[in-house]
Amino acid sequence: MKTASDEELMSAYAGGNTAAFDELFARHGQKVYNLFLRALGNAATASDLTQETFLRVVTARERYEPARTFSSWLYTIAMNLLRDQIRRRKRQGATEDLSTVDSELSHAAPDEENAERLAAVQKAVQCLPAEQREVILLAKYQALSYAEIAGVLGISETAAKQRAYRALKTLRECMAREWTHSRGKS
């Protein structure tokens, strides 16, 4: 049986089919939640923003244009909320280092070596400038193409790739530093 595309499901939902929304949430809910979780390192805020993202999908269903891919539209909403949240944090003077990251994030790694590596990755991602971090999160974890990322962030595809390249270089340096630091401790 042919599986309905995201765009068909969204059109079905806009036409009154709530089961279509359940399917969309099943496909994208976890990805959106993890996007916020990785970007902000706080499970409660990630939950709030995930809920807000899908609420906007619900309330803006009639403005959705099927010509645009659903994932681009969804992540545009999510990234706008993320930017607002980061701006709000900055205004409140909160830092974005891993001291604010929930301890529950570290539970994802089963053994000690992986836990160390996970901590190094989390710190390295957190040390990226915001505009590089969002490209890496979308490219690596949300598996969006660079053309889609460009659409979501309102930049050119070349600029998206450049940011990703710079992000990878920064990550390499940060990871090496974190790795040496944690080895030095042990």
Partner: protein, 291 residues
């Protein structure tokens, strides 16, 4: 661009398996011939792979329930019942319908202006051409309002929306207090009397025209702009909306200037252009900065 620069530019896409098989083969062929690029690729691959350690977590069950519940609470009406959907479908991407709506708007705007402007001074041919031009301009802007985003991601919707709202406000302001009356009043009364009376009529029309365009544009762009408007696009978006607004404004400016008063027409029009660009940019900027 050298082969190494091309390689670096495509490296992120290569890591996420994006390029076509042909391009991928080209890139991978380059790496062994260049020690730097080979080392770069191997290190970047390692970094990319290391990121896999950060696994996804499942959505907390209460959150999933709450989101599904909220979708049911806001259960959409069927497309047959939804007026908004039906209105959108009626006008979406149809030049004929957009033109019909443009004609309707031009008629309403002309009727509103007729309360304040003496059309008997205008030649019937001039009036007909102005009406046709206005219909075409409104039709074009309505079409832009409903057009799909093009492949490059350029959207005309927002500037078209701002231009239409600003034109509506401009006509409403004009009906309340036509600009020629304001120029006359300020030249004879009030604190700016000396200044205003010292200006030539063309200069006064230019300055007042600027303010009459700036005010509606500021209001329209502020309320239409998205809160997250990107800073580097504010001037571009403001100017694009201003340009559309000034085009929509042109027929009404012509109708309010007596025929052959080209000096007044040019003065007003140029003032309106500058005022609209300032208003559009300021509206977007205030929304971005403070909303």
């Amino acid at each position: 661009m050298t082969a190494c620069e091309k390689f670096q530019a495509d490296l992120p896409a290569l890591l996420s398996d994006e390029p076509t098989a042909e391009r991928k083969a080209q890139l991978e062929k380059h790496a062994p011939s260049c020690a730097n690029c080979a080392a770069e690729m191997s290190e970047m691959r390692a970094v990319w792979k290391t990121l896999d350690v950060w696994q996804e977590q499942t959505v907390p069950a209460p959150l999933a329930v709450a989101i599904r519940e909220q979708a049911r609470l806001h259960q959409p009406v069927t497309s047959e019942e939804s007026l908004v959907v039906r209105v959108r479908q009626l006008f979406v991407q149809s030049p004929i319908r957009a033109l019909a709506l443009g004609l309707l708007t031009a008629i309403i705007a002309t009727i509103m202006l007729s309360f304040r402007v003496d059309f008997s001074l205008i030649h019937p041919l001039g009036l007909t051409i102005t009406g046709a031009l206005w219909t075409a301009l409104f039709g074009l802007v309505y079409y832009m309002l409903t057009a799909e985003r093009d492949e490059g991601g350029l959207s005309w919707k927002l500037p078209a929306q701002v231009a239409l709202i600003a034109t509506g406000l401009f006509i409403a302001f004009t009906c309340l207090n036509p600009m020629p009356y304001s120029v006359q009043y300020c030249s004879a009364n009030g604190p700016a009397q000396t200044f205003c009376s010292s200006l030539s009529r063309e200069t006064a029309y230019c300055i007042f025209g600027g303010f009459y365009a700036m005010l509606p544009m500021t209001i329209a762009s502020y309320f239409s702009a998205k809160k997250h408007a990107r800073h580097n696009k504010i001037f571009r978006r403001g100017s694009l909306a201003a340009l559309m607004f000034v085009l929509l404004l042109a027929p009404s400016v012509y109708l309010q200037c007596t025929p052959f008063a080209f000096g007044l027409l040019i003065g007003w029009f140029s003032g309106a252009l500058v005022g609209a660009v300032i208003g559009g940019t300021v509206g977007y900027w205030v929304r971005y900065k403070f909303a």
